[in-house]
């Protein structure tokens, strides 16, 4: 399922329109959104998810503008991993992850064995099985982050919108989550994620969108985008570039 934007201007309060985005995010692609704090990465992601109206232009999923989608149908195709979560209200890991099946169930339906199996598989993939009966609000930040990924996995979306999916994760789980997202793309889903780590972007993303604080933007295949000069301007930070295992590596000077 293709996610497109047509002259999209994201509504970041107090900022000029900047460049309108015309993105074409196809199944099988992994898009990384890079930019400094406050560049509007999260706002863009929420706009792509239909959770926030754009200032101008349209977002289209499967050639239909998002407002024409029914909420439930949209939730069956599109999952969001949020950066800040409100999991103060008690629920166990399993209860939380099962919530991902909500768009597929009618009000009277209980979760079936198949739904339960999906949730179990997601927990297992994120090493969460030993924590399944723990309350989410008693977990560490990294564990909660994995619960959020497992929830989205249980939602079986065609399009993933992930806001810093490696937030709070240790190195091993960073790689595990990126591998999972990469595998999702190989299985024919589209993945869009906001990232702060240039090295993760270089290794796992095939397309990049650079968002500048003034609303300027450029996008394209990763190889064309990872130009040290452009990145230094993006972050206003000098960078050293090396190469490890044939992948470019960036270190702040």
């Amino acid at each position: 399922m293709v996610l497109e934007t047509c002259d999209l201007v994201v509504d970041v309060p107090g900022r000029a329109d900047g460049r309108a985005l015309n993105l074409h995010i196809a199944p099988g692609q992994v898009w990384g959104v890079l930019g400094p704090n406050g560049a509007g990465k999260t706002t863009l992601l929420h706009t792509l998810a239909g959770l926030r109206p754009p200032r101008g232009g349209t977002v289209l999923l499967d050639k239909a503008p998002l407002p024409r989608w029914r909420r439930r149908a949209l939730a069956q195709q599109l999952a969001v991993i949020f950066q800040e979560r409100q999991d103060g209200f008690p629920a166990t890991v399993m209860e939380t992850v099962l919530i991902g099946r909500h768009p597929f169930l009618s009000p009277w339906q209980m979760e079936s064995a198949a739904d339960l199996a999906l949730a179990e598989a997601a927990l297992s993939q994120l090493d969460l099985l030993p924590l399944r009966d723990r309350l989410v609000n008693t977990l560490s930040g990294g564990e909660r982050q994995r619960v959020a990924v497992a929830l989205a996995l249980t939602q079986t979306p065609a399009v993933w919108l992930a806001d810093e999916p490696t937030n709070h994760l240790d190195l091993h789980h960073q790689v595990a989550v990126m591998t999972l997202l990469h595998q999702q793309a190989r299985d024919g889903r589209a993945v869009v994620m906001c990232l702060h780590d240039l090295n993760l972007a270089a290794r796992w993303c095939d397309h990049l969108l650079l968002l500048y604080p003034d609303g300027e933007a450029c996008w394209g295949p990763t190889d064309d985008m990872l130009v040290p000069g452009a990145l230094e301007k993006l972050y206003d930070q000098r960078l050293a570039v090396g190469e490890v295992d044939g992948v470019r590596v960036f270190v702040a000077r």
């Binding site: 929420h46 998810a49 959770l51 909420r71 439930r72 149908a73 949209l74 939730a75 069956q76 599109l78 999952a79 969001v80 949020f82 979560r85 409100q86 999991d87 103060g88 209200f89 008690p90 629920a91 166990t92 399993m94 209860e95 939380t96 099962l98 919530i99 991902g100 909500h102 768009p103 169930l105 009000p107 009277w108 209980m110 979760e111 339960l116 309350l135 008693t138 939602q155």
Partner: protein, 329 residues
């Protein structure tokens, strides 16, 4: 949570709750100034039995027990709803100033020397007025958030509190006990059990299919929206429903404290966090608690009657603290 073993556990839970409900109601009609034996209750239920017992059970104790049961259920369900709405386990049906509005209505009616029916009507009007006030003010000019709703409610409640104190200070001494009893919650104000019973039944029917949506909402509005929930209409729906339930409860029995806070919380500690289980369980457990508390209130110092709110608090506080102490939260 669904699953094979938990299916069994749930059947057991329902069995226990339903049996306990029946037992509490039976106890409430049996115990009092004149104790009625179980066989005599059965006889009355069959349409036989002594005329005195028939009068005692059918005309006096049964309506009061039913009213207490339904009021407890209403308060517990309203509490569970408010806690999901505000995503705060400490919310209770009164946190948004409802009981304050109802109390001002009721006390005003008492001060003007109106009859019981008018006191109830005035309390209901006060509760609705408070709901509308908070509803309107919380909308404000900016975006709507649970924090804004909570703050608006708490401040409105504080305002009502001041008005109540003023009314108590100005009222003649002979009216004070009645007013204090109303403020603590007292089942002897219950006229007919049917308004709370029907409201509770309707609310349960309405909420049964909504359980999972509430589970989703409890994970936060953004996550809920991303899972296909129409968040704003759902939130207003919950708010209005919880307010109506509370208004009916307060109108029936005055402001009985603690049931709405403690019952859903205790149930969550024992049964988990699935609203599909918690909401109907709260209806039963709230009913059981208030029925037993009212029976105690009638009998502990008989022939004196205590306000039932005192008993719910005295029973609820230690139980709650014990469960909290034992829990792994």
């Amino acid at each position: 949570m669904p699953g094979v073993d938990s299916g069994l556990r749930h059947s057991l839970t329902w069995l226990v709750l339903i049996l306990a409900s029946l037992l509490a109601l039976a106890l409430a009609v049996a115990i009092g100034s004149e104790t009625v034996q179980p066989m005599q209750i059965l006889a009355v239920l069959r349409g036989e039995g002594e005329p005195l017992h028939r009068l005692l059970l059918l005309e006096l104790r049964a309506p009061r027990a039913l009213a207490a049961f339904a009021t407890g259920g209403l308060l517990a369900v309203a509490g569970a709803l408010m806690q999901v709405l505000l995503r705060n386990p400490l919310a209770d049906p009164y946190v948004l100033g409802l009981s304050g509005g109802a109390a001002v209505g009721a006390l005003a009616a008492m001060l003007s020397g109106l009859g019981t029916a008018l006191i109830s009507g005035s309390a209901f009007a006060g509760a609705l007025l408070s709901t509308l006030l908070v509803f309107g003010l919380a909308h404000g000019t900016g975006s709507w958030t649970p924090t804004r709703l909570l703050l608006t409610g708490v401040v409105v409640a504080a305002g009502w509190g001041a008005v109540i104190t003023l009314m108590l200070a100005l009222s003649p001494a002979e009216r004070l006990p009645g007013m204090l009893y109303w403020l603590m919650g007292d089942m002897s104000y219950a006229r007919s059990p049917w308004p709370p019973v029907l409201t509770l039944a309707l609310a349960c029917l309405l909420l049964l299919p909504a359980g999972r949506v509430l589970n989703v909402l409890a994970r936060g509005p953004m996550q809920a929206a991303a899972l296909g929930v129409a968040v704003r209409p759902l939130e207003w729906g919950i708010y209005i429903l919880a307010s109506l339930l509370t208004a009916v409860a307060v109108t029936t029995a005055g402001s009985v404290g603690f049931v709405g806070l403690v019952v859903p919380h205790m149930l969550r500690l024992v049964l988990g966090n699935d609203q599909r289980i918690i909401l109907p369980a709260a209806a039963l457990a709230g009913g059981i608690l208030l029925t037993l508390a009212d029976t105690l209130a009638r009998t502990v110092l008989a022939p004196e009657q205590l306000p039932v709110g005192v008993i719910t608090a005295l029973l609820g506080v230690p139980t709650f603290l014990y469960l909290l102490y034992r829990s792994r939260m």
